[in-house]
């Protein structure tokens, strides 16, 4: 089936909206409560809200970081200081009613049932989620007039995904929940590199997503970077893309109070033919050393602006991200038109072409570091091939 492209929006949400409106790069946005204050969400045009998904971001219910403090239904505020022992009995219902009413009144596309972030593979994961959020939210949704599509938010960790028994329990739980139309799935990977280079993690995420889809569930894959191209093989309903790195990879530390401000990253440009973001400082080497290197840079109106001599490159310039949205959404739209084996063949061809481009760079004496090179692609190919073998698409 075709999938939608959503923008995982952070505090630069206006860039996402502009990109969708001006360049047709997506079907809607996911609004993160930590980044956008409540009043501003309510003031967004109805046409934006109707296609949007609101992410309450209750991951750490005791930490109302950033704009979360403007939402009176955030657990810490609704309960006058979140404490997990009392919350389920005393405040969960109040918080759920407020959050559901907010989502319904603003006419978002789905009603999201939030999740509490739990590291590792806790034995009480399902019980905790049920008591804190799932049961109270389902009750609050049922008390609203009309039909509302409920999405269960789920943050799966590396460890959870890699344990067959644990994922089987999760699938049983989710598919047994009455009134839940689908899952807003966020997979947290422990790696420190900017791209996911763990074939096993990607393969298991593909399998988990497909299992949900085979149970007729809507699956929104949140916080994706370029691996959206690969994960499209699992027939998701929605894939996402974002502006800054914190919207392209889920890291719980960014929701913690003591998260230290990091130095701004070097500006990097998404190069669709390489399936990689490549640091601006390497562009000169690519242009000069690689025969035909200039052709690796995708041409669009934002590229034209960025490659003017007067352009001041900085990671906070919107052109970098609007360029990324134009190019990645173009790739994703083409993939979305295809299904099954044909989709796999197309994705495989894109990955193989990117690998060839990195090989050419290497042969031309361009030495990229591990956050800019093509070292993620072999892992993607392995994951894709394994998944395709399972589906009988390899022949």
């Amino acid at each position: 089936m075709k999938f939608d492209i959503y923008h995982q929006a952070g505090f630069r949400y206006q860039w996402n909206i502009q990109s969708i409106n001006d360049d047709g790069t997506g079907d809607g946005i996911i609004i993160g409560a930590r980044s956008v204050e409540k009043d501003k969400v309510e003031q967004l045009p109805l046409k934006v809200r109707k296609k949007a998904i609101f992410d309450p971001q209750f991951f750490l219910p005791a930490v109302p970081k950033g704009q979360l403090a403007t939402y009176d239904f955030f657990p810490h505020l609704a309960s006058d200081g979140f404490s997990s022992s009392d919350y389920a009995d005393e405040s969960a219902g109040i918080s759920a009613s407020g959050c559901v009413a907010f989502q319904v009144q603003n006419r978002f596309r789905h009603v999201v049932i939030p999740t509490r972030y739990m590291a590792g593979m806790p034995g009480d994961f399902i019980k905790t989620q049920n008591s804190l959020f799932v049961v109270p939210f389902l009750e609050a949704i049922a008390s609203q007039d009309g039909d509302h599509s409920a999405l269960l938010q789920l943050v799966v960790t590396d460890n959870m995904l890699k344990d067959d028994e644990y994922t089987a329990d999760l699938l049983n739980w989710i598919t047994g929940l009455e009134g839940v139309a689908g899952v807003y799935l966020i997979a947290e990977h422990n790696g420190s590199s900017k791209q996911i280079k763990d074939a096993d993690f990607l393969y298991r995420l593909l399998r988990f997503t497909l299992a949900l889809r085979q149970n007729d569930m809507v699956v929104v894959l949140g916080y994706l970077n370029t691996e959206a191209v690969l994960l499209s093989l699992s027939d998701p309903s929605v894939v996402t893309m974002g502006v800054y790195e914190n919207t392209r990879a889920f890291k719980i530390r960014t929701f913690e109070d003591n998260d230290t401000k990091q130095r701004g990253p070097s500006p990097r440009l998404y190069m669709a033919r390489c399936l990689q973001w490549i640091d601006r400082n390497y562009h000169g080497a690519i242009e000069r050393r690689l025969p035909g290197g200039k052709e690796l840079f995708d041409q669009n109106k934002y590229q034209a602006i960025m490659f003017r001599p007067s352009f001041k490159w900085h990671f906070s310039k919107p052109e970098l991200y609007k360029h990324h949205f134009v190019e990645l959404s173009r790739q994703l739209r083409q993939i979305s038109e295809l299904e099954g084996r044909a989709r796999f063949k197309h994705v495989k061809a894109i990955i193989e072409a990117a690998m060839k481009n990195f090989k050419k760079m290497d042969e031309s004496g361009i030495v990229l570091d591990q956050d800019n090179d093509g070292s993620h692609l072999a892992a993607w190919m392995t994951a894709g091939n394994e998944f395709a073998k399972d589906q009988g698409w390899q022949n």
């Binding site: 390497y282 562009h283 000069r288 042969e363 030495v367 570091d369």
Partner: protein, 158 residues
């Protein structure tokens, strides 16, 4: 005998590598030499620049050598040294010579990347396995940033 720390390797390189000679500098010319220079692309362990005299200030490209120094892990070192080519005319990876065997077996990669490879010993003797060709920096903007650093620091010193 191997180096006990990377700092020891850096100190020995500063002491023994004939940088002025490599930059073809006259005896009276000013050598700008700094360790751990920030604000460019990567942080070279040592950066040496032929600082321009008053008459040479308009010179378009400053002759410069950036060094990455590593006890081991030549692949990472090569990638770091390659970054420095964005602003310097030469870039070298300097390794502990007792652990340079694997890098020396891959000199073709250094040659292809036009990055120099040096193995240095604890007694200060060294071998140049790959000598790079002089090549203008890949980024005019970063070279200008380097020139600015040199100008500011040499002006402040005068």
């Amino acid at each position: 005998m191997s180096f006990a720390s990377e700092q020891q390797l850096v100190d020995r390189a500063i002491e023994h590598l004939p940088i002025r000679q490599w930059l073809k500098m006259p005896d009276d010319a000013t050598l700008f030499q700094r360790t751990e220079v920030q604000g460019l692309f990567g942080v070279p362990d040592l950066l040496a620049v032929h600082a321009p005299s008053e008459q040479m200030k308009r010179r378009r490209i400053l002759p410069s050598i950036a060094f990455e120094m590593k006890l081991s892990d030549w692949r990472r070192g090569l990638a770091q040294a390659f970054r420095y080519r964005s602003f310097a005319t030469f870039s070298f990876l300097v390794l502990d010579n007792t652990r340079a065997k694997s890098a020396v077996a891959n000199t073709d990669r250094f040659k292809r990347a036009n990055i120099g490879l040096i193995g240095i010993n604890v007694d200060g003797s060294f071998e140049v396995y790959v000598w790079p060709e002089k090549e203008s920096p890949f980024s005019a903007r970063l070279h200008a940033a380097l020139a600015e650093i040199v100008r500011n620091e040499t002006d402040a010193a005068n």
